[in-house]
Every structure is written in structure tokens, then in C-alpha cells.
């Protein structure tokens, strides 16, 4: 059993994702504890220079036209082959849109345990202890793999990115599995349509979640935003319902915002939402559930009904 940690480097549109550096930084710390190395794996096309900007102990990359864009089938195959070949102690994959297509399938293909939604990792006397954030951010579960080796899927933003930046010896390797008979074919990237407003550029955001109750109440939020001269943003269920355009969505699959003040009304604070707004300078949360996780990241909070608060605040601002 090797002692190395394999990290899947994630990239999109020619740019490495922060999660790559976050995992690499953590992997170096853990690998030192296990007496192994942090080995990043980069799959792509024309990615030598990207490989050179990862601060792991070493970087392996596969360069193939079939990898020009993320392809879950191609990635899954190559990673399964690499894991079988190299027997790493730990495999680190992002618990991201890309990683969520891979980790659980690899766990079955390689017969390695998977611990997902990980936001804490420690080498506890030679054993890896992984802490998962589950139940919408309300519970933490610290687990140990039953055997020595395992796969961990790491949440974005869980570890600092700085220590994963830098450079390392890079080595191009031949594709460890064939890529000429894929059933999944990438067709195109679809960029979001430009919105009427850019929520990433607002000093204040009136952000609403499912607590708004119904489409007819959206105007209460809009009236407040008009009074403040800012925009309305939202959690995912509001854009999924079509009550606001997709360009207003804050979070993991939406936009990351850093306003001076983020007013979170009727938003529970699921990890996927927090990912997009925890960097706001001041967060005010209004939620009828005093145990809602949003209060753990908010600076100020109140448990009143947002449907009463919205008109009251609009009145105050209008003066």
C-alpha cells in the first residue's frame, strides 16, 4: 500500500478551480503525516502550463484531445485506472459539480470507501479522520474509513488555498485507459445570458429564499430593493421556480457575491448557498427558525416574519 495522496485537479475554461489548491494544501499536510507525497492529477488537453502552477509534491498530467473538456465518463475511467495502478492511501476529489459526477462511482469501481461532503480532515495517529457536513449543514459527522485507504470528497472553501499554490515537478503520463469509445460526448458550453442587473456588483443585496412563500410576494422584496437602490437576489429554489431570473441566484451553482450588506430573508443557509455569500462584509439574516444555519454565518439576525419585515423596512428607508 502506497502512502501517497492523489488529488484530482479541477479546471474549467483553462483555469484551475480554487478547490484544487485547497485540496493540494491539505494533502501536503496529511501526506507528511503518512510519510507519503501529495500527487496532483490533471486531466486535460494542452494543460502543461496549468500543471506547472499546482503546488503539490508532484503533478501527473494526461494530455489528450478527448479531455479538452470535462467528461465524466473519461475522467471516471482514467481515475479508476490510476487508482488501481498506484494504490494511493487517500484520493481527494472536490465535492463540486465535477467531483460529484466521479467520487461515488469510483468508490464502487475501486471498492474504496467514500466519505463525502468533507470539511475537516486530520491524520489522527496514522488514521485518517474525515468530517462530513450533512443534513443541510445542521450536522457534522466525523468518520474513519474501515480499511486504510479511502476516497474523500471535499467541500469547496473548507481548506485554505494558499498552501496549494506554487509549482512542482510535472510528469506527462500516457492515458492509463482507452478514450476512443466514449458514450458521453461533450457538445458545448453554454454561457449564462446577461442579466438585467449584475448582482456581483451591488453594495447591498436583498436576498430572498423559500420563506418568501409565493411569487406574489416577490414585489415586497423588489419594493425594498427599489427604496435602497439595489437589487434582489435569491437562493436556488426561487430561480428554479422561475420567480426570478437565473442570473439572480447566489451560491454554488449560481454567483458568488461580496456586497457590503447581504440581507438574507427566509434563506435557511444550506452549504450550497453559503458558498456564494459568506464573503459579504456584513450579513443580516431574518428567519423564523432560530436554529437555521444561516445564523451561524450572519453577523446580525432576527426571527421575525419576513413578510412583515419587508414592508416595515421599506417604509423606514423611504422615510
Amino acid at each position: 500500500m502506497a502512502k501517497d495522496i492523489l488529488i484530482l485537479a479541477e479546471h474549467l475554461n483553462g483555469k484551475l478551480a480554487d478547490i484544487t489548491f485547497e485540496m493540494v494544501g491539505k494533502a501536503k499536510e496529511l501526506a507528511a503525516g503518512f510519510g507519503g507525497k501529495a500527487v496532483a492529477v490533471l486531466l486535460g488537453n494542452g494543460v502543461k502550463s496549468l500543471a506547472e502552477s499546482i503546488g503539490a509534491d508532484s503533478v501527473l498530467y494526461v494530455d489528450d484531445a478527448a479531455l479538452a473538456q470535462f467528461n465524466p465518463e473519461a475522467y471516471g475511467r482514467l481515475l479508476a485506472a490510476l487508482i488501481q495502478e498506484r494504490n494511493p492511501r487517500v484520493v481527494m476529489i472536490g465535492n463540486t459539480s465535477i467531483g460529484m459526477d466521479l467520487a461515488a462511482g469510483l468508490s464502487v469501481m475501486t471498492d474504496l470507501p467514500l466519505i463525502a461532503y468533507v470539511n475537516g480532515l486530520a491524520a489522527d495517529g496514522g488514521t485518517l479522520a474525515a468530517t462530513s457536513q450533512i443534513y443541510g449543514g445542521k450536522i457534522q459527522a466525523e468518520a474513519l474509513p474501515d480499511g486504510e485507504a479511502c476516497i474523500v470528497a471535499c467541500l469547496a472553501g473548507a481548506f485554505p488555498a494558499d498552501t496549494g499554490k506554487g509549482s512542482a515537478p510535472v510528469e506527462q503520463i500516457a492515458s492509463p485507459a482507452p478514450l476512443d469509445d466514449l458514450k458521453v460526448n461533450f457538445v458545448k458550453l453554454i454561457e449564462p445570458e446577461g442579466g438585467d442587473v449584475d448582482i456581483t456588483q451591488q453594495p447591498i443585496l436583498v436576498s430572498i429564499g423559500r420563506g418568501i412563500g409565493g411569487q406574489e410576494n416577490i414585489e415586497l422584496a423588489q419594493e425594498l430593493a427599489d427604496a435602497l437602490g439595489c437589487a434582489v437576489s435569491s437562493s436556488r429554489p426561487i430561480t428554479d421556480a422561475g420567480w426570478l431570473p437565473k442570473t439572480r441566484q447566489v451560491g454554488k451553482s449560481g454567483l458568488t457575491v461580496t456586497p457590503k450588506v447581504y440581507l438574507a430573508f427566509g434563506i435557511s443557509g444550506a452549504p450550497e448557498h453559503l458558498e456564494g455569500m459568506r464573503g459579504a462584509e456584513t450579513i443580516v439574516a431574518v428567519n423564523t427558525d432560530s436554529k437555521a444555519p444561516i445564523f451561524d454565518v450572519a453577523h446580525y439576525g432576527a426571527t421575525c416574519d419576513m413578510l412583515d419585515l419587508l414592508p416595515a423596512l421599506t417604509e423606514k428607508i423611504k422615510g
Partner: protein
């Protein structure tokens, strides 16, 4: 088109989640279970696909609560054609590895063209079921999908990345899709219709064998000790509004009138 939807019940997250005496899991008996919300979207997307191309929708799940029938009846009321539950010694909170293996074994013989399931569930500590089912069946998986179109042995799926960027993939069927959101909000089934179906519908029962295990063991479960907690403002909506207005004024973002 033979469409299968795999569903899973999870604790209702708006309930107070209590941890068991050993501190290693939830006190499941104290909890109410509901259908995973992403599975609701998977059911909707399946029914939409059937409406667009014809075929049948079969909904399947492992009965970990003794109450799966309710969720299956609701799916039938929304347009699914048949329902299957896997029974056996599978307690509440049965891990994903076990559920995925049971479901894969049960649907292999159905030769599905496409399997839809929720992209994740709030209790997927050991990973999501969809990619595991795909690996067991040896078919491709694409997740975080917001739209599926099936035609002539292929599916065109839209996968979401961050920032609203999407990738379009064309996949040779069969495949498994992890649905993030149906391309229209899940339909509502009237209670009267669900009641009617509960009286007449037949749910097929499959006895599940022993599954694999999660492969990891929880040694400590706890509520997050948050680094900080909001300073709470008490009082009426007017008083809270006043506090917010003052804060915005202090930051120079509004004029205090």
C-alpha cells in the same frame, strides 16, 4: 422509452435533529421522513420525458421507513406508471452504498433506457446514489443536470457548473442522470387523487439481500460548533427594521431620514 426513477426518503430538515445516545448517528425514531427534494425533481423530469416521447415511468426505492408507500403513491398520482419498493432489514438512515446496490440489482432486469434520480440527498454521507447505480450497471452518469431530452437512443443533458455556466452532453443510452432541477417546477398532485391511487394501485415488492456497507464508521456526530453566531435582534418587525436601517445608515449606504 423505459424510464426508471430511484427515490429516497430523508429526515425532514425543518425538524429538530436529535443525536442518539451514543453520539454516532441521528435519533431516527424521533424524526419525520420526507421525500428527498431532488428526487421530486427527478420524478417531474421523468414524467416530462414520458410526455414528450412516450414510454413508461417506474419509480423505485428502498423502504427504510415503512412509509415509502406514501411517496410511491404520490409519484403515481403525478404520472408514474408503476412503483416498486425494496423491503428487508434496512433501517432508517441506511447508507447510500447499500441503497444503490439494492436498487441497481432490482432495476438491472428491467433494462431501463434511462434512470433518473436526485443529484444528492441531505444524508448522503457516503456519497450520492446515482453515480453508484451507474457504476453497478456499467453505464455512464451525468449529474447536476437541469434538463434532459431523450431521442433515438440518446439523451441530451445540460449539466450546471458554477456561475450559471452549463455544459451540454450527448449520451448514448442507457445512462443514469442526477437531476438538480426539472426543467419546470414539480407538479402538484391533489390529495384526493393520491388517496384514490392508494386504494387501487399495486406496489410491487422486491426482497433485498444484504448490501455492501458504507465502508466507513462514524465515531462522532455533533451539531456544528459555529465559529460565531449572529447577534440576535429581538422585537417587533418595526423594531428590527429600525435596527437594519440604522446599520445601513452607519455604513453610509442609505441616508437616515
Amino acid at each position: 422509452m423505459n424510464i426508471v426513477v430511484s427515490i429516497k426518503q430523508i429526515p425532514n430538515l425543518t425538524d429538530e435533529l436529535e443525536i442518539n445516545a451514543e453520539g454516532t448517528g441521528l435519533d431516527h425514531d424521533a424524526l419525520q421522513y420526507v421525500l428527498n427534494e431532488f428526487d421530486e425533481h427527478a420524478i417531474e423530469e421523468a414524467v416530462l420525458a414520458k410526455e414528450a416521447t412516450g414510454g413508461t415511468v417506474t419509480v423505485i426505492g428502498v423502504d427504510t421507513t415503512g412509509e415509502l408507500d406514501g411517496a410511491l403513491h404520490t409519484a403515481l398520482a403525478k404520472g408514474a406508471d408503476s412503483a416498486v419498493k425494496i423491503t428487508g432489514d434496512f433501517p432508517r438512515g441506511t447508507d447510500s452504498h447499500t441503497q444503490a446496490k439494492l436498487i441497481a440489482d432490482a432495476i438491472r432486469g428491467m433494462s431501463p433506457d434511462i434512470v433518473l434520480t436526485g443529484v444528492q440527498a441531505a444524508d448522503d454521507r457516503d456519497g450520492q446514489i446515482g453515480p453508484m447505480i451507474a457504476a453497478h450497471l456499467g453505464v455512464p452518469y451525468v449529474g447536476v443536470v437541469t434538463g434532459v431530452q431523450v431521442k433515438e437512443g440518446k439523451a441530451v443533458v445540460h449539466k450546471e457548473y458554477a456561475g450559471g455556466v452549463m455544459a451540454e452532453f450527448e449520451v448514448a443510452l442507457p445512462m443514469v442522470v442526477g437531476v438538480q432541477a426539472a426543467h419546470q417546477p414539480p407538479r402538484y398532485a391533489p390529495v384526493s387523487k393520491i388517496r384514490q391511487i392508494a386504494k387501487t394501485a399495486k406496489i410491487d415488492e422486491v426482497t433485498g439481500g444484504a448490501g455492501p456497507r458504507a465502508g466507513s464508521t462514524v465515531r462522532r456526530m455533533f451539531k456544528p460548533e459555529s465559529a460565531g453566531h449572529a447577534e440576535m435582534w429581538e422585537g417587533s418587525p418595526e423594531e428590527v427594521a429600525d435596527k437594519i436601517a440604522t446599520l445601513l445608515a452607519e455604513k453610509g449606504l442609505v441616508k437616515r431620514g
